[in-house]
């Protein structure tokens, strides 16, 4: 079977219709990066990146130094591409007016420390051009949204990392932007806060916002979305639903765990499948001596699951457990980056 390169994967999955809303033919893409390249002197930050987003939540993942922050700063108009174009709803992101369509929660943990959280967010609202009254109303609304009511009047310098993250998030929501760009928004937030943040992100997505989230917290990201853009060495290595990307990684057969009572018989049957490249038979556990565990490595997982399903029905097999072991975002990323951790 032919192995596909990361760029080929990116091209293939970009064409996937899951990334387009029904109105995509009528409107400019919400976010469009066209062959965007950014250099820092002799070092390339992002390299010929093409990406088109129409809505929902998209995770941006990649190793340290892969170009995630550069990409986000291009999207938010902090940087200007050396080649290519970045637009939001057809407007160049370098244009100051486009910033009304974008909410940005930066990774940098910097504030006007002498202010309280409330003052800071209200100041940001005033800098968006809202009247004093409207700024106060919007500030109170977003403070409530991020769960900072009752704590927002304290000075920022006394805040925990999680509270600071929430204030950053609050200022990004002030002007009700169509596109929310969040750089490591879960960093430093406690588990309960994370849950609240994930819920908030989901609510925002449900309200039609597009969220581009860069995060190292892949498990948390998976709870939120299965759509990711994977950056490697400044290039988009793959973009699309994680499972779909995983299926295209032919040179890394999917590893699937199957617990069954007739493990030896099943192993023999599975080896007859064209897409199965190997089966390991593990010892039975002491708790369930009658159940054996198979670790199956198979190409083309979709076809494998179809064939496996038919086999189970035909042979009336007692399958106790069927679990893909390496279709998580982390595993996909690990394969794409050649084993380098994020």
């Amino acid at each position: 079977m032919e192995n596909k390169s990361p760029s080929a994967i990116a091209r293939t999955v970009e064409d996937n219709s899951a990334f387009r809303t029904p109105h995509s033919e009528l409107q400019s893409p919400l976010l469009l990066l066209e062959q965007v390249t950014k250099w820092y002197g002799p070092v390339i930050g992002v390299n010929q990146v093409t990406l088109e987003l129409h809505g929902g939540i998209i995770g941006l993942v990649g190793a340290n130094g892969a170009g995630k922050t550069t990409l986000l700063r291009l999207v938010t108009g902090q940087l200007r591409p050396d080649l290519g174009r970045v637009t939001v709803r057809g407007f160049d992101t370098w244009n100051w007016q486009t910033k009304r369509l974008i909410g940005y929660c930066p990774d940098a943990d910097v504030f006007y420390e002498e202010m309280s959280g409330l003052e800071f967010v209200e100041t940001m609202a005033r800098l968006c051009g809202y009247s004093r009254r409207e700024a106060r109303q919007r500030t109170e609304a977003v403070i409530e949204q991020v769960g900072m009511v009752g704590r927002s009047s304290r000075k920022i310098r006394g805040y925990s990392k999680g509270m600071r993250q929430r204030i950053k998030l609050a200022q990004a929501l002030l002007h009700d932007p169509e596109l929310l760009v969040l750089d490591e928004p879960l960093s430093g937030i406690d588990p309960i806060g994370r849950q609240d943040s994930l819920q908030l992100f989901q609510e925002l997505a449900d309200r039609g916002k597009c969220l581009l989230i860069s995060s190292h917290e892949l498990e948390e990201l998976e709870k939120l979305t299965d759509r990711v853009a994977i950056l490697a060495r400044g290039r988009i290595a793959a973009v699309g639903p994680v499972r779909q990307i995983r299926e295209l990684l032919d040179h890394h057969p999917m590893t699937i765990r199957i617990d069954t009572a007739k493990s030896r018989q099943l192993a023999a049957e599975l080896l007859a499948f064209q897409e199965v490249v190997g089966v390991d038979l593990s010892e039975s556990s002491k708790e369930m001596p009658e159940v054996g565990t198979l670790i199956v490595r198979a190409r083309n997982p979709r076809k494998f699951y179809e064939d496996f399903g038919r086999l189970v029905i035909q042979k009336e097999l007692d399958v106790r457990r069927l679990e893909p072991l390496d279709d998580s975002t982390e595993a996909v990323l690990d394969y794409l980056l050649g084993g380098r951790n994020v």
């Binding site: 009528l26 409107q27 400019s28 820092y40 930050g45 922050t69 550069t70 700063r73 938010t76 108009g77 902090q78 940087l79 200007r80 709803r89 057809g90 407007f91 100051w96 007016q97 486009t98 910033k99 009304r100 369509l101 974008i102 940005y104 930066p106 990774d107 940098a108 910097v110 504030f111 006007y112 002498e114 100041t123 940001m124 005033r126 800098l127 968006c128 051009g129 809202y130 009247s131 200022q171 002007h175």
Partner: protein, 313 residues
């Protein structure tokens, strides 16, 4: 098809005014350079006070040679000689003339000495640019250094407006510090100081405005604007502006001093060697200072609009 963006004029004006107010408040926080500026101000005031206390602004108590009488004693000797001469004697009339001339020169010498050494050599060449840069480089420089610039550049405000707002917000602080400092020095200088204040404060204002525009531009261009501004001030404004020839015409200090010379024209006084310094007329100096300010601000707005600040990338 693209969605349209709503008309931004009113919100932008409101946001700009808010940014000016925010920046004024943030400038109020003491910075390292400001501490240096205030320390220098105190030092200068103490120095001037000591000189005033010992009455050293005039030449009354100076001696042309060691052990010879002071200038004031010489005047007394001339007057005494005049009293011994006959009232209608031509020699007596000559002594009258010499005595009056020397006394006038001694009386007005205080202002000349104060202007030359305190106003021109210390304040205008050194303290004025230094005090201005302590606020002017901080307006943008501090935002860059503390990486808080991101909060301004992610707002729906033109970058040029951000630059201008920062300049406008910093100006009252620069003017306040310079006028306060100059006022304190003049006050400590006694009578010649008060005359210097009356004559020179407008030149201090215009100089501050021009220097502030220059140092604000340096803050947009360099990561360490205070260092660059200090080097520029010492090597260009202090040294070059005093050199003979036309090179000094490139310095802002030259036009500030020309404005100061012009303010003296009605008093028939010359606190420096005007023929050597060759100042331009008051209107020319004022025009150049205003023009330079406007041009520097426009350049800064363009530069800031195009710059990509990558402090945290």
């Amino acid at each position: 098809m693209s969605v349209g963006l709503p008309p931004p004029l009113l919100p932008v004006a409101r946001a700009w005014l808010e940014l000016v107010w925010l920046s004024i408040r943030r400038q109020a926080r003491m910075r390292q350079m400001l501490v240096v500026a205030v320390a220098l101000m105190i030092l200068a005031v103490v120095l001037v006070s000591v000189i005033t206390f010992f009455g050293r602004w005039t030449l009354h108590n100076n001696r042309p040679r060691p052990r010879s009488p002071t200038y004031q004693q010489s005047v007394y000797h001339i007057k005494a000689a005049r009293m011994m001469a006959a009232p209608n004697d031509s020699f007596g009339a000559l002594l009258d003339g010499i005595g009056a001339s020397v006394q006038t020169a001694l009386d007005h010498g205080a202002f000349v000495v104060f202007s030359r050494w305190i106003v021109f050599a210390i304040f205008q060449s050194f303290l004025l640019p230094l005090w201005t840069l302590s606020f002017a480089t901080d307006a943008l420089g501090n935002e860059r250094e503390s990486r808080t610039l991101i909060w301004l550049t992610t707002r729906p405000l033109p970058r040029s407006a951000v630059y201008l707002a920062k300049y406008v917000a910093m100006l009252p602080w620069c003017l306040g510090l310079n006028l306060l400092g100059f006022g304190a020095i003049c006050l400590a200088g006694g009578e010649p100081g008060r005359l210097a204040w009356d004559l020179f404060w407008p030149a201090v204002c215009w100089g501050t405005i021009a220097f502030a525009a220059l140092f604000h531009l340096l803050a947009a261009l360099f990561r360490r604007p205070a260092v660059v501004a200090l080097i520029y001030s010492f090597f260009f404004e202090t040294v070059v502006s005093d050199l003979p020839g036309d090179l000094k015409r490139l310095s802002i200090s030259y036009y500030i001093r020309s404005l100061m010379f012009d303010s003296l024209s009605g008093l028939d006084m010359s606190p420096d060697q005007v023929t050597v310094y060759a100042p331009v007329s008051g209107w020319t100096a004022w025009g150049v200072l205003v023009g330079v300010t406007v041009v520097l601000i426009i350049i800064g707005m363009v530069v800031f609009s195009r710059m990509q600040y990558q402090e945290d990338v």
